[in-house]
């Protein structure tokens, strides 16, 4: 199955089941959870169903486009269902069938895996979904986000898009995956993942392991932190401040991939990201609770 077909099917499936189809957030991040649609969406009492693609970058996973399985950036398909429905497992399984996976012929297991994101003050309880020995999704019931209890609890389903495509097509090399076809009057041209991304993988990996300017990134980390707190404390702008937290998080990942963060420093740095993210979460809730209607909640900031 082509990558774009998989995405279209997942979007159709979840739209039909009452999800908003969102868009990826236009900042670097490591996971779909960090998109404000999830981070803020999971907070508070308001019901919320959303599904979207999220390109996720993890600098330490770069392999210069040479490893057939591991890449710097991959596509996640993220689904949030809040409150988590009673039939959520069944819904997830149906979504696999919508992708053409005939479960009567496969081995499907839910193996304990309790996801957590210390930099977001978030953790949940759930599983990695394993199909014929291969992890294809993360399935989590959020217990806390931004340091706050989730009431109601959101179910988060995160699909690994490239992985599922490789698995279904029996591909040995991620770069051989077909993203889709370009049709013009001159003919039909399938475009592979390699054609779209291999050069990018090479350059991003080189940046990640060799070229990233460490002093610059250390300065950026401090600057983003300062900027974030200024936006939050002086203006009460939690959405802008959260963007600064995202930037802090990515900057840390860049430093980490270069080996510039020691094991003793790491917890302290993560805590700094978390403190800002949690403060944004708190401010968001205070603002949402103060607003009487969803329309009002969308209006300008508190201060």
């Amino acid at each position: 199955m082509h990558i774009q077909e998989l995405i279209l099917r997942l979007q159709r499936f979840w739209a039909d089941r009452g999800c908003l189809i969102g868009q990826p957030y236009d900042l670097e991040k490591g996971a779909g959870t960090m998109n404000p649609l999830t981070f803020f969406g999971a907070l508070g009492a308001k019901p919320w169903n959303v599904a979207y693609v999220e390109p996720s970058r993890r600098p330490a996973d770069g392999r210069y486009g040479e490893n057939p399985f591991r890449v710097y950036k991959h596509l996640q398909f993220q689904v949030i269902l809040k409150p988590s429905p009673a039939k959520v497992q069944e819904m997830y399984i149906e979504s696999l069938e919508a992708l053409g996976i005939d479960l009567s012929k496969h081995d499907l297991r839910f193996e304990e895996d309790n996801w957590e994101s210390p930099s977001l003050g978030a953790w949940g309880v759930g599983w990695q979904v394993v199909l014929d020995g291969m992890e294809i999704s993360q399935f989590t019931y959020f217990q806390q986000v931004g340091g706050l209890d989730c009431r109601p609890v959101s179910a988060e389903l995160t699909y690994g898009i490239e992985r599922i495509c490789m698995f279904l097509g029996g591909y040995d090399n991620i770069f051989d995956l077909v993203h889709g076809e370009v049709k013009t009057d001159d003919g039909v041209f399938p475009v592979t993942y390699g054609q779209m991304r291999q050069r990018e993988e090479f350059e991003l990996s080189a940046y990640s392991f060799e070229h990233a300017d460490l002093d610059l990134h250390r300065t950026l980390f401090e600057s983003f932190e300062k900027e974030g707190w200024r936006l939050l404390k002086d203006h009460g702008h939690f959405l802008s401040a959260y963007e600064q937290a995202l930037k802090m998080s990515h900057t840390f990942n860049v430093l980490d991939a270069r080996g510039a963060v020691s094991t003793t420093e790491r917890p302290g740095i993560i805590k700094r990201v978390r403190d800002l993210a949690c403060a944004c979460a708190k401010a968001y809730l205070e603002h949402a609770e103060a607003a009487a209607t969803p329309a009002e909640a969308g209006k300008g900031g508190v201060k």
Binding site: Q89, V153, A155, G170
Partner: protein, 720 residues
Amino acid sequence: MSATKTFLLELHCEEIPARFLEPLITDFGEKLRNLFLEHHYSMGLVWKDINVTDQSTTKHIDVPVADDPSSLRNHLGEFAYSPRKLSWRVTGVPDSSPSQVRSEIGPPERLCKDESGNPTIQGQKFAEKWGVGFDRIQFKDVGKKERCAVVTFEVAGRPTLDLLAEALPGLIAGLHVPKAMRWGSSDFEFVRPIRNILCLFGEEVVPITVDGVRATNSTWGHRLYHRQHPEPVKVGSPEAYEAALEAAGVVVSVDVRRARIAAQLEALATEAGGRVVADAELLDTLAEIVEFPKIVRGDFPASFLELPKEVLVTSLREHQKSFCIEGADGRLLPCFLTAANRTDDPAGFVKAGNEWVLKARLYDARFFFAEDRKHPLSDRLEKLQALTFQRDLGSYHAKTGRVVALVKALATRLSSDEAHVNRALEAARMAKCDLRTLMVGEFPELQGIMGGEYLKHEGAHEDVWMAVKEHYRPVGAEDAIPSTPMGCLLSLCDKLDTVAGCFAVGLIPSGSKDPLALRRAGQGIVRILWERGWALSPADLIAAALQAVGAKATRPPAETTEALLAFFKDRVAYQLELAGFAGSVRRSALAAGWEDLADLKARCEALSTFAEDARFASLAQSAKRIGNILKDEAPAEAFDSGLLVQAEEQALAGQLAKLEATVDQRGLLVALADLAQPLEAFFTAVMVKCEDPALRAARLSLLHRLRKSFLQVADFSLWQ
């Protein structure tokens, strides 16, 4: 006699982590048993796996003493668990709780009746209070000064169904879950969402509701089964439970699943021309994570066999939950066995999928293996400066320096061969380098092993690479110590540096807190000394280690040394326990000295031959008396035996000479055993602290010298 019925409860949840299944089963089992006891059913429940044919799996829960112990029966209840189900079944439960005889005590007899025996007002009121005629009142001795009015009546039992309906929701909600979760909009907390409750008493549904889920007489089978049969599975009676579920694709008994898995593993391994590489823990895990086991064999390209065996086994076990197959020569075959949660693999997708995943991992492993070997292992040595061992103790580079110093100090005491010692230093220098390899980065559990492999590949001397490979051993109580003396020395020095270093910066294990596993490391040191019989005293080792730590220490050396000595003494005591010596032997031998382990071992072995000897029990008594007598006394070593007058003390003095002349442990113990009777006689007949100062002094010295002899072997005052 009331009729009896069978009780059945099944909680059907979303997949429960395997490690919680047994504790939850046990916890609820105890609560259910307590419920029955509370209502006076004579049922002391003992639980067993629902698989009735296998008695060996009976799980015993301590049955408490009930009010009437004679009424307690060891009633058998059954449990079952699988990834989505927790079940309990109890047969022979009475329809209603037993009726209770209750007594109420009233006023004294003389206040209840007048002289003619007619009821007084007080007597009447007592009768009215309990709703009985005055003639029902008995007058008995109730343990007070006089006889009192007593009315007894029967409190009827309550229907079991009602009791269960009232109590079960609370019991379920109160189950202990280490990491509970919430779901949906509810505040209910449990291990995983509860999606169905099957609860029967006889054929009747027990009307309970938990978190909005109402109990029924049906449940759910395997997901694949329900693709063909969308309706829930009806369970007509508790007795029909396991058959109904097996028909729906769920084997409820973990023991049956485990047995089927083991049988299939063996059959498939034999078919492949080899045998399964045993792994009891993995077998248990597989039995816990499937509802219906089907072992599938997969293959991998034989070229991956160039990877070290440990890499393949670890990868397959940790990442794929798969078993390896080895040939008769002990080498792995290019195939593996994994468990699928289904009856078959009709399209071969399970095989193909698992093979695909494994190939990806092994590809990574081969890539790491090749990349790592592009540079000599020694290249990583400088890089260890960037890897922190512990905040105060510095990097792994610093640690390596200390371990090299320790090996240098100790190797010369164990070997005079200079080349050999140099190889030991080489091994110490290389020991931690693999921490900076890609392979160990991916498979941390292969530390040491990869270092050894890489050195072997580079053509290092076998002494060196074998020592590096094994220097983390023993990793647990079941593991062996390194197989070579050099490996043992390296292991000892590495662990010694870790333990002494941590103590020196104040990281001392206490109670259940030992995050750095120092006790395990300390135990490893003691085991190595014990099994190798090396004459290295803990005091010497501690001194050498602290010298290497030097200025990095944050605590005064005297304090650290004292703490370390106490720590090592505990480890030695445990080693004696592991070696199987009786408590009396351990206590008394340890008290007479513990730092020379070879000597301690010899003494324990010698003492053990006398452990059953009644004369030693007598010696223990005598030794205690000697201890008491000599307390606060400062007897001289020498004494004039001519001063002794009584036969018993002269006999003892004679024995003393013989004792002091005996050198070997066994001979000494024989002589001591022979001393038991004469000592008893001595204490019966002789007053040690007599008037005559010279005689008194002589007697005290005699006892003092006797005790010195004892203490060559053991402090017998601790024998019992």
